[in-house]
Amino acid sequence: VKKSRRCVGDKNTKSVFCLPPQTFDKILIANRGEIACRVIKTCQKMGIKSVAVHSDVDASAVHVKMADEAVCVGPAPTSKSYLNMDAIMDAIRSTGAQAVHPGYGFLSENKEFAKRLAAEGVTFIGPDTHAIMAMGDKIESKLIAKAAKVNTIPGFDGVVETADDAVKIAQQIGYPVMIKASAGGGGKGMRIAWNDEETREGFRFSSQEAASSFGDDRLLIEKYIDNPRHIEIQVLADKHGNALWLNERECSIQRRNQKVVEEAPSTFLDSVTRRAMGEQAVQLAKAVQYSSAGTVEFLVDSKKNFYFLEMNTRLQVEHPITECITGLDLVEQMIRVAKGYKLLHKQEDIPINGWAIESRVYAEDPYKSFGLPSIGRLSQYQEPLNLSNVRVDSGIQEGSDISIYYDPMISKLVTYGATRAEALSKMEDALDNYVIRGVTHNIPLLREIITHPRFISGDISTNFLPEVYPDGFKGHQLEVGNRRELLASAAALYITAQLRSQKVLGNLSYLDSHVAVQMIFCIDASGQIVLQYLGTSFKVRVLSKLAAELNSYMPEKVAEDTSSILRSPMPGSVVAVSVKPGDTVAEGQEICVIEAMKMQNSLTAAKQAKVKKVHCKPGETVGEGDLLVELE
């Protein structure tokens, strides 16, 4: 098997021990993308044969190429392929895989899947079913945590029945409070209330949303933590009652409850708090007889009070930063534990070596609410692996398609160094050296975050993005010096291109010049140059003096009146169209709903008008900028 350099590099994750023990002969990875590649990489290291599953559109995906065997489990939609338990069970039988690694997402926290595997005598590389079940329910997990003496957010421990109950409970806890769905996640069915009236309203909305999103309208109420940090503890436990905490990960930089930049360790924790959090996390793990790797998430307030949030019973997306600072290969540990081996380490063996930062590179347009999915073909793709202390976990390559069916993550870019400053400066370099063409990506935002003074000083919370960019992200704002540098580069590039135009074989009036330049941008005939500078792409136009003078006579083209047309802000599928031609819509009224990558986006009217024409229907796939509805 050809070794791919795209997944975890050995040099980055120094194994503490030498010979891997005998575990499994063959493991099936029930996932795709970077995490599938990540797991296969460790399988290769441990001498285990790997089986990839894939949908038909993923037939030539990187994880398929890396695996020893591959089985197609259905068509593109995840419900028919990566979530298709029947097909995956068939794949396990036909390939004779002895164990399954579920990665994250998909079937990783699905108790039904774990049960079916157990029934066939196939090992699930993760915790036992009862732990998945216990931690999967927000109310139950809180009760267990409380019983295990883990700090929990002050709040009601059971289901709230009526709005009056809700108000009573809210008054007991003290405002502000958070009302949220028991079965929920991803911010759905969540409301913050600052008084009785808002509590009543929030109760009504949340129960409706919870019912429609999860088919379960049970709610709970808890204290709302102002300016919280999201800090989580990685735990590792075996089947013999041993458990370790592998330090924390700071994941406060989020948008829409999804993490963007993570680091380990956190700038905020002192060793006392770290130990307290770690010990509570281990108490919880032991309370549910947890085995394998898991993550206990905490909210931490400005006074370093920490409260249990939830436990994720799987490998986390951001696990590489923990691997960087501890030197452990978490996937390897998971496989060992699943086989029934005892943990190799003691708590005092777990170090914090240096600092690691992870940026999640997404195919997203960061200028639209910090990231709306974008799709396309990676026409050019080069990871910054020429730099040292850089780890890139990805499952794509040049020529890969980022489609609407799956998560738009391109890669996880991890840098580390002896100090945080070193890791950050390495991250800056890595982002600048990353070449991604063909899809819109969020590198401009990532680079702004990691160079922002507040981030550098460690003054962050989960509200970082909306606080720092209250009007949305607008790209790097140039100062005078930078602006001059940018313009000078553009002008030089323009001149270079002009000079080269004269370097034609046999051209008599040939002007000699020894200027060569590497083009990482585009330049067109009318002087438009696109330059990526300090992470952001800038459009610069260079004109000769004459052309600039004459250009002033050119009329501004009248842009399309955007208030009377509705275009799709991103590629996706139409879930619902709420209007028909002839309807009158009020300003702000919902016109249609577009779903892309797990997200539903409601598109509203920009003004009051009559609907002229509807260009889409439910179920249809639309591209970015496609005309959906015309108003009069």
Partner: protein
């Protein structure tokens, strides 16, 4: 970036004299460009003069000055107000600085009817500016019609000036670029004006295939005048300010009772998307002229010149790994042929001709290792990439231009066949499809063909196949060279057979792959897509010395 900065420092001297305007990605209105007065400041209305007491030298100066302002400042302002540049501004922007050598500045019209003989109706140079100059150092002849003088109307003198530079261009072997902005014939001159048009048409025809001829329509161009651009190799238009039609909206209304605006009848959008008369449209005058300079770089100066080779920074042996996965798994699924073209050519630089017309075929110019090539490709994204009337004609004309001017042709084939249907048959797909076949067959320039996927039926033969003297024909592993798709073939071969699915599988196994063509030598090799660029560049080097001559004839008889 460091490379860029060091260039910035070393080129400081050159940057003086450049205006750099700037905007971030957020839609900020681009502006901040100072509108400086023209360098040639002139006395207003200096054409009215009495010559009695002036020396010849003074008279020369006066005439020259008068010629420079054309129809006068008022009309120049009006021209600017319409968002158009003057004839001279256009020439200045099109050519290298100070390279313009004007001819016939003193020519005046010779009409003496309707008061035209009066001094105030005489303009030195009349309604057109002509001469020669250079674009990036390479010789070109130019005429630019001056709308400020009698609406750019064509007089006998006007035509004579254009004919003169065309004759010179033919003599020395240099392209002709015409900047059209004319209301039509000079009605006061009557038949003399018509004769002038015909003189130009004749020269357009004689120069055709000898030197490249380009028309850039930058204002009205109506009536018989349209036939000059139509005879040239390329017609480009400026959006919103240029029109091409035989008869204007008023006449259309009176004859066919159709209500149509100028823009709908003959605007840039109409001609680049519906009629196929124009090859490209640009945003405004400045954009159009700067693009003309870029376009000109692709062309040889005459049919005696080889295809130009420019210094190239893109390694000719670059492997394009992204191509290995570009052809989708299912044969019915579309992909964008432009992705393949952009990835293979130098620096992703592709000048597409007719990008909005007959989009099921893609044609345009690019460079391979610095050498200009013509690219023809079926576009699976549009109508499955089938050949129909419009795409055949579009492809044929482009192939013939390349052949006439020694530009190698690279053809990317993914064609399921000719488009069926009464509309196509009644429209004469047989006749029009034959044009593309004819063009590829008669071409003697280097021809390299890459079959990326489908090459079915007669369309396979047409698309620069080995049988039409293709020099190098490659197939990708995904290629299927066959008479037709599996379904159709099975219905004929195994008519009445029970298990059609099994038969189809058998057919796919046998024919839906590159082997049947490869074992017969109809493709020279089956290559990994990633190596395509490398192979083409190498082949072009070898084929640079290709010599092939068609049998002697007065001229061939393409099925028009």
């Amino acid at each position: 970036m460091m490379a860029a900065f060091s260039v910035a420092r070393s080129s400081c001297g050159l940057i003086n004299g450049l205006r750099v305007s700037f905007r971030s990605l957020a839609p900020v209105k681009h502006g901040a460009v100072a509108a400086a007065a023209l360098q040639t400041s002139l006395l207003p209305d200096c054409r009215r003069y009495s010559v009695g007491h002036l020396s010849v030298k003074e008279r020369i100066d006066m005439k020259r000055k008068a010629a420079l302002v054309g129809g006068g400042q008022k009309r120049i302002d009006a021209q600017h107000k319409r968002g158009k540049l003057t004839a001279r501004e256009r020439v200045e922007l099109l050519l290298d600085p100070e390279s313009f050598v004007e001819s016939d500045m003193f020519v005046e019209h010779r009409c003496s009817d309707f008061g035209m003989e009066q001094d105030r109706n005489k303009f030195p140079g009349d309604s057109v500016v002509t001469g020669r100059g250079r674009i990036n150092g390479r010789l070109v002849y130019v005429f630019s019609q001056d709308f400020t003088v009698f609406g750019g109307s064509l007089s006998g003198a006007h035509a004579q000036k254009i004919c003169k530079i065309m004759d010179q261009a033919m003599t020395v072997g240099a392209p002709v670029i015409g900047l059209n902005d004319s209301g039509g014939a000079r009605i006061q001159e009557g038949v003399e004006s018509l004769a002038g048009y015909a003189d130009i048409f004749l020269r357009n025809v004689l120069a055709s295939g000898v030197v490249p001829q380009i028309s850039l329509i930058m204002g009205p161009c109506a009536g018989g005048a349209v036939y000059s651009p139509a005879l040239t190799d390329f017609t480009f238009m400026v959006k919103d300010t240029s029109y091409l039609f035989i008869t204007g909206p008023d006449v259309v209304k009176s004859v066919t009772n159709e209500d149509v605006t100028q823009e709908e009848l003959g605007g840039a959008k109409t001609h680049t998307t519906v009629s196929g008369v124009a090859h490209h449209a640009f945003e405004n005058d400045v954009d159009a002229l700067l693009n003309m300079r870029e376009f000109f770089n692709f062309l040889p100066l005459s049919n005696q010149d080889p295809s130009p080779i420019r210094a190239c920074h893109d390694p000719s042996d670059r492997l394009v790994t992204s191509l290995d996965t570009i052809v989708p798994f299912e044969t019915t699924k579309a992909y964008d042929m432009l992705d393949i073209i952009h990835a293979i050519v130098d620096e992703r630089d592709f000048f597409e001709i007719m990008p909005s017309y007959a989009k099921n075929i893609v044609v345009g110019f690019a460079r391979m290792n610095g050498r200009t090539v013509g690219i023809v490709g079926n576009q699976p994204k549009v109508a499955s990439g089938c050949l129909d009337i419009n795409s055949s004609v579009k492809g044929a004309r482009f192939v013939r231009f390349c052949d006439a001017f020694n530009i190698p042709i690279i053809t990317f084939v993914d064609v399921p066949g000719f488009l069926p249907g009464t509309a196509q048959e009644y429209g004469g797909i047989i006749r029009h499809g034959a044009k593309l076949l004819y063009a590829f067959a008669e071409a003697t320039v280097p021809k390299i063909t890459i079959i990326t996927r489908k090459a079915y039926g007669g369309a396979y033969d047409v698309m620069s196949s080995k049988h039409l003297r293709g020099d190098v024909n490659y197939a990708w592993p995904s290629a299927e060279v066959a008479v037709m798709g599996a379904k159709g073939a099975v219905q004929i071969i195994f008519r009445g057979k029970e298990n059609q699915a099994e038969a189809e599988a058998e057919y796919v196994e046998k024919f839906a792959n590159p082997f049947p063509a490869a074992v017969r030598g109809f493709v020279d090799d089956i290559i990994e897509p990633a190596t395509t660029r490398k192979k083409i560049c190498r082949d072009l080097e070898v084929l640079a010395s290709k010599k092939q001559v068609n049998p002697w004839k007065k001229h061939a008889n393409i099925p028009l």
